[in-house]
């Protein structure tokens, strides 16, 4: 990965495009209604054919819903949760980290103590409390994930800002007469974006899994609507007898997380002018 | 004349390009031989090759290194470990980074000596005193962070020399030090070479350091030796345009202030830009078609003074 556009990166981008495409078009391309239960066809294995209902390519779940339709429909919820919660925490965490690293002093003390506190509260507890107060909804889910995850970015942004802020080109920007917002946005942010990108891409997969945990507690995507996480958590009771309920959403999750991580590495190098035209 | 170290036709390649291309020189016991050049000239890689400590991506594609007559280029790693520190040692630019921060300096010198502990302590103490460390009884139990940079370099020299190696490779040993400390260390190296008969290969970019302690000097440019000879001859009658320009480009205490310094146009070429001919061709005032096509051989111009230039006579 040196930031060049290779067939490998084309494949990754293509695969991600398919994911997004499927997620957006889910309502039109699902073979079955993902919510319709056929109790006679519970826990059927992949490639089941029913003369009345047709093919169930990935089998059915514990209440007889078509697994393929649920996985396709769940892609939307999972990808949205991942993308939105990462955006919220990346944005807020980076802003706090930049400010703490640049102004240091009491701002840094306050911000970094809050970071320590938030990181030491069990995320599930924080999530339960937030949802208990605000009630379960998609917006609140994003809020919860953002609230619990921003300190990861703040830590990285803070450490990187401290380091970059000592470099002579930052002194030179001060000498030029640039004020803090310009120095932070034009000089520091682009030079700390690489490590933040790496954190964001690893967090993306974690967020999708975290949503699954919350769904399991009844705090995430509300049933009967599917997300990959909720499908897997429903399926874990049947791992021995109906492996497909966990394996297929798991494969989808694995694929998207891997692609996003690889894309993140590539983007980090791509955004670095030093990596090109060497 | 006996020879402590003889290097012939050394070639080191990174990714198919010979970044060190046919280096040859020898050093006699007690002699200080300098390899001088700018960054990217291959002097540090050459130094690492002498101890067979090359980075992984560097391959030796040719040449021999004879240490006291024994070819060490083909030795297995196990034999090399017996040679390093015993018969050939090295000191580095950043002495504080080269010492283990968690171990007392005396223990580090002792480790290099390979002696048992009781006899060793006295030997280490004497060695520390010999490299000019005042109060060795106290210093022997101190940690590197308690010593200054100059003192750490003395400790490095002590541990490099305690086993009486035939050759000491000194890679920019004073670059990280202040001038007054540099003067002390150079005096020390000069004295140790004379007293112990150690052959010193001094790697440096500083012509002043060369003038101070080297008996002979090889001027390197882009992986090749441009000129090699006795220091006095090379400085007073340079036979390669690179050496001549380099010497003219250095401000001196005797120059006319604010006068224009001689300039070597452009900058050192990257290995990817090396052509078929002389590697100085892009910056040389004498360059012609032949220089572009064919690398000049290293030929003797005066007694013991060699230059690799098609136009040596124009410098006379």
């Amino acid at each position: 990965m040196n930031g060049r556009f290779t067939p490998g990166i084309a494949a990754i981008l293509g695969l991600l495009a398919i994911y997004v495409f499927v997620a957006v078009l889910a309502p039109w391309i699902v073979p079955h209604n993902p919510l319709r239960q056929i109790l006679l066809l519970r826990l059927r294995p992949p490639l089941t054919y029913s003369p009345s209902a047709g093919w169930f390519l990935l089998g059915t779940d514990d209440v007889g819903r078509d697994l393929l339709s649920r996985v396709v429909d769940g892609a939307r919820a999972s990808l949205m949760v991942g993308a939105l919660s990462v955006s919220v925490s990346l944005l807020s965490g980076t802003v706090f980290g930049l400010l703490a690293g640049w102004f240091r002093g009491w701002i840094a003390i306050v911000v970094m103590r809050i970071v320590d506190i938030v990181l030491s509260i069990p995320a599930i507890l924080l999530a339960v409390l937030t949802v208990a107060v605000l009630g379960p909804s998609f917006a609140n889910l994003i809020l919860v994930l953002g609230l619990t995850r921003w300190p990861r970015y703040t830590r990285v942004a803070y450490a990187q800002t401290l380091q970059v802020a000592t470099l002579p080109y930052i002194r030179a920007a001060e000498m030029a007469g640039a004020r803090a917002p310009r120095i932070l946005l034009r000089h520091i942010l682009p030079n700390i974006a690489g490590p933040l990108m790496v954190v964001a891409t690893t967090e993306f997969g974690l967020m999708i899994l975290f949503e699954a945990g919350l769904s399991f507690l009844g705090l995430g995507i509300q049933p009967p609507y599917p997300s990959w996480g909720s499908i897997m958590s429903e399926g874990q009771n049947y791992v021995a007898s109906a492996w497909w309920m966990t394996v297929f959403p798991g494969i989808c999750l694995f694929g998207v997380v891997l692609c996003v991580n690889l894309l993140g590495d590539w983007l980090r190098d791509r955004l670095d002018p030093r990596a090109q035209s060497r | 004349m006996s020879v402590a170290l003889q290097v012939s036709d050394l070639r080191l390649a990174i990714g198919g390009v010979n970044v060190v291309d046919g280096i040859a020189f020898s050093v006699a016991p007690g002699e200080v031989m300098a390899l001088v050049g700018e960054s990217g000239c291959g002097k540090s890689l050459t130094a690492q090759a002498l101890l067979r400590l090359l980075p992984r991506q560097v391959r030796q594609t040719g040449g021999r290194i004879l240490l006291e007559g024994e070819d060490i280029t083909a030795l297995p790693e196990r034999r090399l470990r017996q040679i390093r520190g015993r018969r050939i040692s090295m000191i580095f630019q950043e002495p504080q980074a080269a010492l283990d921060p968690l171990s007392p300096v005396g223990a580090q010198v002792r480790e290099a000596s390979g002696l048992a502990s009781v006899a060793a302590r006295e030997a280490v103490r004497r060695m520390l005193a010999e490299v000019g460390i005042a109060d060795p009884d106290r210093r022997i139990d101190q940690y590197p962070f308690e010593l200054s940079g100059g003192m750490c370099q003395r400790v490095m020299i002590a541990s490099a020399l305690i086993s009486r190696p035939a050759v000491l490779v000194a890679d920019e040993p004073t670059t990280a030090l202040d001038v007054t400390i540099q003067a002390q260390i150079l005096d020390l190296l000069r004295r140790l070479a004379a007293e112990r008969g150690t052959a010193i290969v001094l790697i440096t970019h500083d012509m002043g350091v060369v003038a101070d302690i080297a008996e002979r000097v090889a001027v390197m440019y882009a992986g090749r030796i441009a000129e090699i000879g006795p220091t006095a001859a090379v400085f007073s009658r340079p036979r390669h345009p690179y050496t001549a320009l380099l010497l003219a480009a250095i401000p001196r205490l005797a120059d006319e202030p604010k006068s224009r310094l001689a300039v070597i146009e452009g900058s050192v070429p990257q290995p990817s830009e090396y052509g078929a001919g002389c590697r100085f061709v892009g910056r040389c005032p004498f360059a012609d078609a032949r220089c572009n096509a064919e690398p000049p051989p290293l030929l003797e111009t005066d007694d013991g003074h060699f230059s690799a230039c098609w136009h040596t006579e124009r410098l006379a």
């Binding site: 470099l167 002579p168 080109y169 002194r171 030179a172 920007a173 001060e174 000498m175 030029a176 007469g177 640039a178 034009r186 000089h187 682009p190 030079n191 955004l271 670095d272 002018p273 030093r274 035209s277 | 700018e38 960054s39 005042a134 200054s148 003192m151 202040d178 001038v179 007054t180 540099q182 003067a183 002390q184 005096d187 970019h205 012509m207 002043g208 350091v209 060369v210 003038a211 101070d212 006095a232 400085f235 007073s236 320009l245 010497l247 480009a249 250095i250 401000p251 001196r252 205490l253 202030p257 604010k258 224009r260 310094l261 001689a262 300039v263 070597i264 146009e265 900058s267 050192v268 910056r283």
Partner: protein
């Protein structure tokens, strides 16, 4: 005529986490007149870079006074500081880290003009092009990134950026120390030319006495936060009055074997003491070959001796080199 730069009793102390503060600069006074180049030499840790940073407010002076074109730096508000930095620009040592790797060269050079609202759009591009030409580069280099240039070219870019605001004072903090010998001469020639063509005053901070002699009109020698000697160039190099200056001159290896080996050696014993615990009396007495009991007790006054300013009890006795 007012000097472009007046430094009077400058003190900069850095608080240490443990123990006493580091006395980086401890009472330094000098002036730089219009069109004059003053050299500030000394070994690492002597505080010379801190002096240049304090002049433009990049570090806060603890005491004393610094005036740039008459404006006091100490306690300056943000607007005054901005004005001071329009008058005094700085060139740092390492061109590799002096330029933002994610910013084009043109954006870097134009930044002082852009953020101060002095030029934009087409006019900005033209002024950047003119600056690039002035430092020996080509206008089309503006769209490239710093990593596409060699060390010497990058230092040219840094110099162009420093010239953008037409400063009255240029601070050069070891501007050629990170460069290869063959490139060093190019940059020194450029700096001398620009200083003359722009009629700038210049403070040239360096550890290299030969380089300082080449570019400076007067030279100040610093040791452990204090000035030891300040003299016109020729006086300092031919009749150094301070034993430290003499030792420094003797320690610089001349690139000429005959001269270098004939040179008298003035070996300095010992090491530079810590600036957190400087010696009592004259700070140099622990290494001085001429130190007497008096030197350990009383700080020598900063006094005139001919055209030289020197801080040494025994300056009159300094033998000719």
């Amino acid at each position: 005529m007012n000097p472009v730069l007046a430094v009077d009793g400058l003190v900069v102390h850095f608080p240490a986490r443990h123990g006493p503060p580091v006395r980086a600069v401890d009472g330094v006074s000098f002036t730089v007149a219009e069109r004059e180049t003053l050299g500030l030499v000394g070994e690492s840790g002597c505080g010379k870079s801190t002096v240049s940073n304090a002049i433009v407010g990049l570090v806060q002076p603890t005491g004393g006074e610094v005036r740039v074109a008459g404006m006091p730096v100490r306690g300056a508000d943000r607007r005054t500081l901005r004005e001071i930095r329009a008058k005094a620009q700085i060139v740092f040592q390492d061109p590799a880290t002096s330029l933002n790797p994610r910013m084009t060269v043109g954006a870097a050079i134009g930044e002082p003009l852009l953020v101060r609202g002095l030029a934009r759009g087409r006019e900005l591009r033209e002024r950047v092009a003119a600056l690039l030409t002035e430092v020996g580069l080509r206008p089309e280099h503006a769209s490239r990134y710093p990593h596409q240039f060699s060390g010497g070219q990058r230092q040219r870019i840094v110099i162009a950026r420093a010239l953008a605001l037409r400063p009255a004072l240029l601070l050069c903090d070891e501007p050629v120390s990170a460069l290869d010998v063959s490139v060093r001469a190019q940059i020194l020639n450029l700096l001398v030319e620009l200083q003359q063509s722009h009629a700038m005053a210049c403070l040239f901070v360096s550890h290299d006495l030969a380089v300082v002699r080449h570019v400076c009109d007067r030279v100040a020698v610093m040791y452990l936060g204090h000035l030891m000697e300040l003299a016109p160039r020729d006086a300092l190099y031919t009749t150094p009055r301070h034993p430290y200056t003499r030792a420094l001159l003797a320690a610089v290896p001349e690139p000429d074997p005959a001269l270098q080996r004939a040179k008298p050696r003035v070996p300095l014993k010992g090491e530079i003491p810590s600036p957190a615990a400087p010696p009592q009396g004259c700070v140099f007495h622990t290494r001085c070959p001429m130190a007497i009991a008096h030197c350990r007790e009383e700080v020598p006054a900063w006094r005139h001796l001919g055209e030289t300013l020197v801080a040494c009890h025994r300056a009159e006795e300094t033998p000719a080199p």
